[in-house]
């Protein structure tokens, strides 16, 4: 794809934490270029560098810093939009964009469980994009979503096991990073030297989303996977990287060696497709006694690999391990960008779909 056919992306919710991450990760992207940024009334009309309280550790990409923030109305000059909108407004706004003919690649939870909306991780269920045909929007508009950040870590870690042995039961206890709560998010007085054993709505997502993600496309329906998940969700004082302690029960008997091999040999259906954001491995099994840890692994492979460690037998279910996912990259903006890349390869997204002639 040459520079003169770059696909122009708009960013909805561009000043928020997820929107900022989209802008950071799209800097220098080989296929996509940011052509429009939109946010709430409060920010509209300002230069991006003034409107955004930039929380990244690097500088704002220069081209975006100088852009003017627009309103989130479906007249943006772009071929498609990434949505980092808050769930309080995402439902309506994303629907309006899709109805107006824009492909909407969303990180919000609002449309995830809708029967016609793909809940997508390219290495896990790329065929689910077929649901797009059911949306029957005006023009070429549609909505595709990525899962909740903690779901992404769990499902990527379960996928090799599920393919090989069938996953029946899961008990997962998470230790989730501050950035998962957005900005300003968690008050420092609440979390400094503390653990908060509750994250609103999070446990439900871990129960429902894996069933859809690991479900089977049957004609134009997803038949949910029969996986029962029980979740304990906790907030800890870590900047980026959700840790998940997982115990699994399998449908078929397996040895520890077989389970380890399933992680090591997993080859995703999108391997070799040349998606720019796709990491060398979806999941990597580590040997270190005390790995993975957020500090040591979260930034490796561009934050797109899910790291698994301490694989061992579980005294109650069958096996147990710990998984680490970069919640704002693989679990949010990076995952959404990878979704868009898959959609390009599948022909659902291209520069010719430009909304504004």
């Amino acid at each position: 794809m040459s520079a003169n056919t770059a696909i122009r992306a708009g960013i909805l919710g561009a000043t928020g934490a997820v929107g900022q991450k989209f802008i950071e990760l799209l800097e220098g992207h080989p296929w996509f270029t940011v052509s429009a940024i939109a946010a709430s009334e409060r920010s509209a009309g300002k230069r991006y560098s003034e409107a955004a309280n930039w929380i990244g550790s690097g500088a704002i990409p220069k081209t975006v810093a100088a852009m003017t923030v627009e309103r989130c109305t479906p007249d943006l000059d772009c071929d498609f939009v990434f949505s980092g909108l808050d769930s309080s407004v995402a439902g309506e706004v994303e629907g309006a964009f899709a109805d107006a003919g824009y492909p909407v690649i969303s990180n919000a939870r609002n449309h995830r469980m809708a029967a016609s909306v793909p809940l997508l991780i390219p290495e896990v269920n790329p065929e689910h994009t077929a649901l797009i045909e059911k949306q029957a929007r005006a023009g070429e508009g549609y909505i595709v979503t990525n899962p909740n950040c903690s779901t992404v870590g769990l499902v990527c870690a379960l996928k090799p096991l599920h393919d090989a042995f069938g996953v029946d039961k899961v008990i997962v206890s998470t230790m989730q990073a501050l950035s998962g709560a957005g900005y300003p998010g968690v008050a420092s007085l609440d979390i400094e030297g503390n653990v908060i054993p509750y994250i609103g709505g999070e446990e439900d997502k871990l129960v429902t989303e894996p069933r859809k993600l690991l479900g089977r496309l049957d004609g134009s329906e997803i038949e949910p996977a029969e996986i029962v998940v029980s979740a304990h969700c906790n907030r800890v004082s870590v900047r980026d990287g959700h840790m998940e302690c997982v115990s699994v029960g399998l449908a078929q008997k397996a040895t520890l060696a077989q389970v380890a091999a399933s992680f090591r040999s997993y080859c995703s259906p999108v391997t070799g497709m040349g998606l720019p954001t796709c990491p060398p491995s979806l999941v990597e099994l580590l040997d270190g006694d005390a790995d993975p840890q957020p500090r040591r692994f979260v930034e490796r492979n561009g934050g797109m690999t899910v790291w698994v460690g301490r694989l061992r037998e579980c005294e109650v279910l069958d096996f147990k391990f710990v998984a680490l996912v970069h919640n704002t990259v693989r679990g949010a903006a990076g995952g959404a960008i990878l979704n868009a890349e898959l959609l390009v390869k599948q022909g659902y997204l291209n520069a010719r779909k430009a909304h504004i002639a």
Copy 2:
């Protein structure tokens, strides 16, 4: 018990983290007075205030600050000893003291699983002290131990359920405090903004110790409880207070209301005995959405109550909740002091057992 019949305690490992906590908690104790402090060769002969790198947030109790540190040899001027020794030396030293006629109230792991040594939580299994008779030491010496800090939190939380419904299966994921690793313990570069998903030896203790603690005394033997535990142990950047996310399977059917009632109505066998360190309730069930948290609860009730919250049904086993235990108080020094208090009431420990005439 009047001041002139105070029982004189020696502290083994007095300069270490647990030894310091013994000294802090015994300040002003109505029954016990610190009459001797002992530590390694390196500290012996020094004033305590010089030998100890005091890590507490208050000052060293004045009477102890001026005492001279002795060697850990069984000729200390005291009626019994508390042991906060490191496990690398506790096995041998504690044995030597017990053989020389000293009651040894130990926090170390070395003798916990020995058939003749009580592994004791007064509110849970006070009758296990009968094992003392099996030790057949010279004079009146014996060893009594308290469990590992994370075991204490788990077992105190399970006890009401086990009595009411029988606990079969447990999956527990811990988030453990820095003070559990002693001093200097965890390097700040390892844990600042991080989680370490491994604590050496910890998971095994959570598997084995609850079976003994909740076991039934049958003549002079403990018949272990048939509880299968699977543990995931993690270190987090919290000063004091281990959090434990617990899913349990019960032997008998129970409703959520019945389980909640079992926590609320639990009355321990030592209630009303007047043990000074015994808290008003072994376990307290909280209603708050996001409780317990270390910052909000760990210091309440003198650090001796185990706090339980977020009780709800588990999709995979039967019920789930989160528990919080003060790891250096209820889970270490405070628990050992309470053990000694029980032994006084039971007649195993008194001022007349003074070793040195």
Copy 3:
């Protein structure tokens, strides 16, 4: 003062961080009892336990938990009010209460520098309460304020030096705690593993307030002390306790021994008056190489002593040291309560001043 003559306090801004600290510290106070609590429209009419997001580590005092929050209008059933109001509303509301005949003991900055309002630290400038006479409010109303939290630490540490040698010049660099920003205050993503070298308005207060506090009462005017202060204010990830690195220039020559002696021998004008919240010493000079530290000292002496350490010669000015002040106790609610106690002893505050007959 017997229980039946308890002076009844109202708390303005009772649901905020400072208001909560007032309630926590007044629990069991020998002279004062909380008889009314008031906050914003949003909280008015609710039970306190529902209205307040209680951030303390203990439980809400039971008597207050059950009280109904009222509006901040000058018809509260109390003899005087403590104000923990935010500065956005404190100016007007405090004025209304004072004009209606209530003594107002305020922690807000609004009236601090007014010529007729005492800016008060009892051990430093108790005679400044004479300014009350200038206020000429209707009835017996007046406003007395305590300084900004970082000012309190600095001025308490400077007072012995100023009395003995005269302080000319000060360069102070602070490392301030999270609780100084109130709640929710600093976002965890902003401060986790970070330092923020700026606190809005803080440096100005350190320049102006010490001049008034250490000023001389001349008739009915305060002649400001001729002290030039330069401040660098930083936020660090500490819960409670502002640290201040101070270099001072003195008007008279002094030796290091003389300076140390001035700290050790300082006897405040209110010593022996029996003020319940007055600590044994305003300032305590420490010998430890690396003291004071928030973790080790901030809670000692009930948080009311300012700890000074590392006293040594300064290569540029004359001497340097580090000081620690508990910002929400001595630097806010505790300081205000001590102010009220002084006013009782001086006859400015008593139960007979009850506003409502």
Copy 4:
């Protein structure tokens, strides 16, 4: 310089925190290649990946991971050595290497103040390398040192002012990162939620090293700059990045605008020499109200720029500001690598100096 003339570097103290940083930063270096690694007896003979407790957030560079650790004796197969040795052994070992004909580029403090040893920051005092001629070692051996990490931050920030107006007096208060203490370094129990107002030996280095660094080369002697520095050094819970609050007195009068201009226009004597590790600017003056902060700036420009912010007039001296330096990059390993690059350009270091034929 082509690949086949790569200069082969040995790393002394390769398993320590600074040694690890050398290895991390030399990965892919255009001029230098790591050909030998050496550490203590305990590590000698092991593969590097086994000997080192790697604390970096990325993986160990593969070529080094497989190398065998050697002893620190002057028979290593390399053209020169970087020394990350602890000061307890650096003095002797570095001397032995230099005497055996190796150029030694050291981060240790032992030889810094020796009259014949350059204390070097290339952008500040590149001409000081002339001191090498005084060392008169056998063969082509010599020692060159870089300053203490906190000194680097201070001196880089002062250099533009010193050139323009002369710096007379400095009061600096630091907030230093955990990584400055090496590994394991600071215990988490000592620093979690805390500040430690003391770092052994640190304040002295800030007094003495700037005088040499900013001194004038007079023949073969350094005439120290007449700068009086007073330092307060503190440890805070930040991973990387020392913050320094600086008040300066100048020899010549200057306006705030002139001082700002001196920062913005500073052009170092090595600009344009093409040193690979040299950042675009030695010092960068920031406009943000609350910048620099470690989290936002420490990794920019590869960690080699010193960031200055909040420039304003000082009420006591002349001007004040806050500076941030990456203590393990610019303040240690990165600074030493830049020193080696300068020595290559100046002809003091080259592949032909290979010690072993």
